[in-house]
Symmetry: C2
Subunit: 648 residues, 2 copies
């Protein structure tokens, strides 16, 4: 069919088939950022095609050999997604990457600066360089696998082919000057990133789920004794009068003086964050009100209200306001909207608004965030928390994704790939078998969006390994010192759409020589199709304006680091590490600070003993805009913020 793109903003076009009832961004309730209109106009890509047939809408984006494709949601095993098929589905990531994700955001970004959002909660499948059509004019050249070295499992012409299981779909097309600019426009279209409250950057501790008021106060006291500056205490299921299913009401038995406890904590600068999940108990004070709006199926015996209904959101917001917010609660951990598949309602469940279980699942985490975000926004207080699932449109919700996996490599790759999703990832720390693991995990965490020790199922503390206590304390201090730098990164996320965590590719492109081999090494089990291994940098990432992190895995004291072209400097010592990019082995003792590198000209503001210092690396002239505001309210939305130009 005729693909007529409507120019919505500079470099942003929309197109729809049929009459879509719901869009992801619409459900999130956010408006595009006004910053979009200040960006340069771009020429509309004219080479996409679209077909609607049967239950499908299929859109196709042509690729060249050299293009690389990113996105299709949060990934834990790959950053580059070429030559893969993904069937997007909200699900706990369980080790196999086929589209099941905590953030199956239906957005792809191509290295040529083109991006596409399927702005729909319906089922979306991405076929990236894998779908070839009989009628494609450019004929494929056949080779014989057994005798011809030119045989390859990949064959041009290349396309991204995206199928949506609906004939009513909105697509949003983005074009930036480069892929970073494309992603920025996507984030701005979704409303722009959130800015956390400043207290959100501090140390978080989630307490064991069986703990009562006294136990929790004991934990806080222990932190004081050990001189670890606790910022947020998280209460797990046991704070409620019933959980799994939840009541969202305080347990009179375990937290008889909840408000008093919270107010006392607040006096010491410690916030309280509450765990919740979407299933509501018949013992809850909101059960009866919500029952008529609940879906056909139960979740852990509880009803699941249809959050797409404004009545439901109002009931829940009001309850959260009077029962939690009014008592001083600062935010939430919104658990299990991903459901590990089997725990959730089935795909065919029916919700009162007419949505299927599958579609509601795509929206549940997004709307759970929306309800609580809007409560705090209305009160002009920022909140910060965790969510187990999200989707496109959620970029402005101050929630970080997490899961139950505990694979160090996956956690790092999550921080890389989240840059293409409009979501952020938290590699929380829960425990460790060794001192080395404890330190390495904390080091990664210290430069992640949230510094969270999650002891919901155990009694872990930062000082659980006495021989590592001082190292962990220094690691937490490193994070504190970087607060101005982190905070500015989030301001750029909000105002300019630049994700604070990015894979190297987004800033530096494919700077390594691409592997041009046709055939990979044959292995009947590991590589039966002789796939060529492309270089996918998934264990290093850029955080903020310019710093490059190269986390060390547990039990290691050295690793290979890939440096993009140009000079690079050790963040801690200021010494030059490479003259013009390249791959080198770096060493880092068990108790040494984690490897962080700065490019030539980088400027990094740090807070040392309460005062701001500016670190400058190399000799290249540099400029850095430092952001600041009140750190707690939404006054920045009303223009109350300032940028300071740092010239060194």
């Amino acid at each position: 069919m005729d693909l007529k793109w409507n120019n919505a903003y500079p470099g942003v076009w929309t197109f729809q088939t049929g009459e879509p009832e719901l869009t992801l961004t619409g459900v999130a309730g956010r408006k595009p950022s006004s910053h979009l209109i200040q960006l340069d106009e771009m020429e509309c890509p004219e080479n996409l095609t679209c077909d609607v047939f049967g239950k499908y809408t299929v859109i196709r984006i042509p690729l060249t050999d050299d293009d690389r494709v990113f996105g299709s949601g949060l990934m834990f095993q790959k950053v580059i997604t070429d030559n893969q098929a993904y069937h997007l589905r909200v699900d706990h990531f369980a080790g196999m990457e086929v589209g099941n994700s905590h953030a199956p955001v239906p957005f792809v970004a191509v290295s040529n600066g083109i991006g596409l959002l399927c702005n729909t909660p319906e089922k979306v499948d991405f076929y990236i360089r894998t779908a070839h059509r009989k009628e494609d004019k450019e004929r494929i050249v056949e080779h014989d696998r057994a005798s011809d070295g030119n045989w390859s499992c990949y064959n041009p012409p290349y396309f991204i082919e995206i199928a949506v299981q609906s004939s009513d779909v909105e697509f949003v097309l983005f074009r930036g000057k480069n892929i970073k600019d494309c992603v920025a426009r996507f984030n701005l279209y979704c409303g722009g990133g959130f800015i956390p409250p400043k207290w959100g950057f501090g140390l978080w501790h989630r307490t064991n789920m069986t703990m009562n008021e006294n136990d929790v106060q004991g934990v806080v006291e222990d932190y004081r004794k050990h001189d670890f500056p606790l910022s947020v205490i998280g209460l797990e299921p046991g704070w409620q009068s019933g959980s799994y299913p939840c009541t969202y009401d305080w347990s009179e038995k375990n937290f008889p003086n909840a408000e008093k406890m919270i107010r006392n904590f607040l006096k010491d600068g410690i916030r309280v964050n509450l765990w919740e999940n979407p299933c509501i108990s018949e013992r809850s004070s909101v059960y009866k009100k919500l029952y008529p709006y609940a879906g056909s199926h139960l979740l852990w015996c509880g009803i699941v209200p249809d959050y797409t209904l404004p009545e439901v959101r109002t009931i829940l917001k009001d309850h959260h306001k009077t029962t939690h917010f009014a008592k001083g609660v600062s935010g939430y951990k919104l658990d299990e909207s991903d459901g590990y598949d089997k725990w959730l309602w089935p795909d065919h469940a029916q919700f009162p608004s007419g949505l299927s279980g599958f579609v509601f699942r795509n929206l549940c985490g997004l709307l759970f965030q929306r309800i609580t975000y809007e409560l705090y926004h209305e009160q002009d207080q920022r909140t910060y928390g965790l969510t187990r699932s999200t989707n496109a449109g959620g970029v402005g919700f101050p929630y970080i994704l997490y899961n139950d996996r505990y694979d160090f490599k996956e956690f790092v790759t999550g921080l890389c790939s989240c840059g293409f999703t409009g979501a952020l990832w938290c590699p929380e720390v829960r425990g460790a078998k060794t001192v080395s693991e404890w330190i390495r995990r904390f080091q990664l965490l210290a430069i992640s969006p949230m510094l969270l020790l999650n002891a919901w199922a155990n009694y872990a503390t930062p000082w659980m390994f006495p021989e590592a206590e001082e190292t962990i304390r220094e690691t937490v201090k490193l994070r504190e010192s970087l607060l101005p730098y982190f905070y500015t990164a989030f301001a750029k996320y909000h105002f300019e759409g630049i994700p604070p965590y990015r894979p190297l590719f987004m800033d530096y492109g494919l700077f390594l020589n691409a592997n041009k081999a046709t055939l990979g090494e044959l292995d009947d089990t590991a590589n039966p199709y002789q796939e060529v291994q492309t270089t996918d940098i998934k264990d290093q990432f850029i955080v903020g304006e310019s710093l490059m992190a190269a986390p060390l895995e547990p039990e290691t004291t050295s690793r290979k680091v890939i440096f993009p072209p140009g000079k690079w400097f050790d963040f801690h010592t200021g010494k030059q590490v490479v003259e013009n990019g390249g791959v080198i082995e770096i060493f880092c003792g068990e108790h040494d600070p984690m490897p962080l590198f700065a490019p030539d000209g980088a400027i990094v503001p740090v807070k040392v003993d309460g005062s701001l210092q500016v670190k400058k690396f190399g000799t290249k002239p540099g400029k850095y805009m430092l952001y600041d505001d009140d750190g707690e309210t939404f006054a920045y939305e009303r223009g109350e913020y300032h940028w300071t130009e740092l010239l060194v």
Copy 2:
């Protein structure tokens, strides 16, 4: 809606919603076995419910606490499927069991003897004990997770809830006296199992894909020199004039005298089997004829003809007949109809008959088997081969499933779970890192449906570890000696529907005390929902009438074996192992024969030096019916076979 079951056969009922165009059994083209009418009548279960709404047909089977559920296709990690959700999809099993399977057969069997086949190629999701409804009358009892030891992640009432994404579906309900009888009725309804030709039980070797005629003759000669009795030589892609996409034509360059080679092999009793996959090259002699019938998308540059069209099946059958069968070829390996997902056509592909890519994918492997099976059947010659995917209805096709994984445990569990699928599994041997691995893999293979050394990507031979050569030879001889026993097992598969490979549960039920704990051990990463680990015996299986196999893993010389109640005997020594079931540690030296056990009263016919001997175990009176026929033709379908009663 009103669920009115129509009694089709004793213990078999059908019911349909709307007007289904295709059924799995209909597509397979097989008729129910006449043996069905001889079985006892059963009472129709009246407690199932069915609803049709939107695009779904949902059927519900109530369960009690003590029921156990099996099936939902070939599984590699579980045999008992309770508390899981499966989204069935033909796919290479890649390590995560969520419904992706080489045989996603939409059939479940419950320990109470009830089974259900969703006789449809449409999308089927199984929710086994995981879907609870708001309106269920039996109200769930809530417990608090943080404080109440009675909390459980599982909650009655229990159901299997099955959703088919179509409003036109045929369901087939089975009820047997027990679960084995239920599965037998399912297999008979699908036409009854196949009986392989006797040569099929011999040693198979698949040659490296780059080999030409001389190379292949060299391999056969090597087998002769090493005194390994080769039965089948398999040619991989390189036998064709082009492959990936395939021509299905002989390579003039590499196999100029193919027929002469094959005829010479046949003189020595060696059959030739050819590799194929579903994509057809423009260089193939059948390309032009098939082009009009091909689907919208290419597979490895080749067209994929719509096998549901009779014209396509005729063209392919004729080509295979004149080009292969007429030259003496004995069968096929039908590869890659599972596609590793990304290699296959997309779900939204369009096929000329009107089927979507998703539906055709559910049928492709089944029809690929049908085409070649019917060719041989028409010629009154049995064939035997391999297929990469299958579905319900394929029980009578003489093809064994395989994949590219190489995990020993998965391979054993595949042999257990396949008993519930109407398909069989082949744990092929490709290579090994150690002598122990080589021996353990061959030992498992020697009692599997096909003794296949698959050297398509290497040059492995049975004697590749000189120190193991004699052990491997003895292992092959053990299989040869068991031919009468195996052959009879397949006759029972055909005539009575009893699968030749079965998990212990199918014969012995839940003989271990079920774990009645409410809560499993909490682990924030490994078991966050405190799931109770049920005893799932997935590393032992029953082969044939009564023998129990307990394969040893590579690098081990001992293991725990679970014995059902009663006396059990060592197959090799005849010595009693246990008095009345139980769990014991057994030992097996690296070069010892693999552990096989016989229950009290078991009778096992073996062939020793060309003559039949009968082994009797224990003192319990036993009876064994030994089957025989010509071993090569379908004369047995015309009554030319005999059963011999062995009374010892």
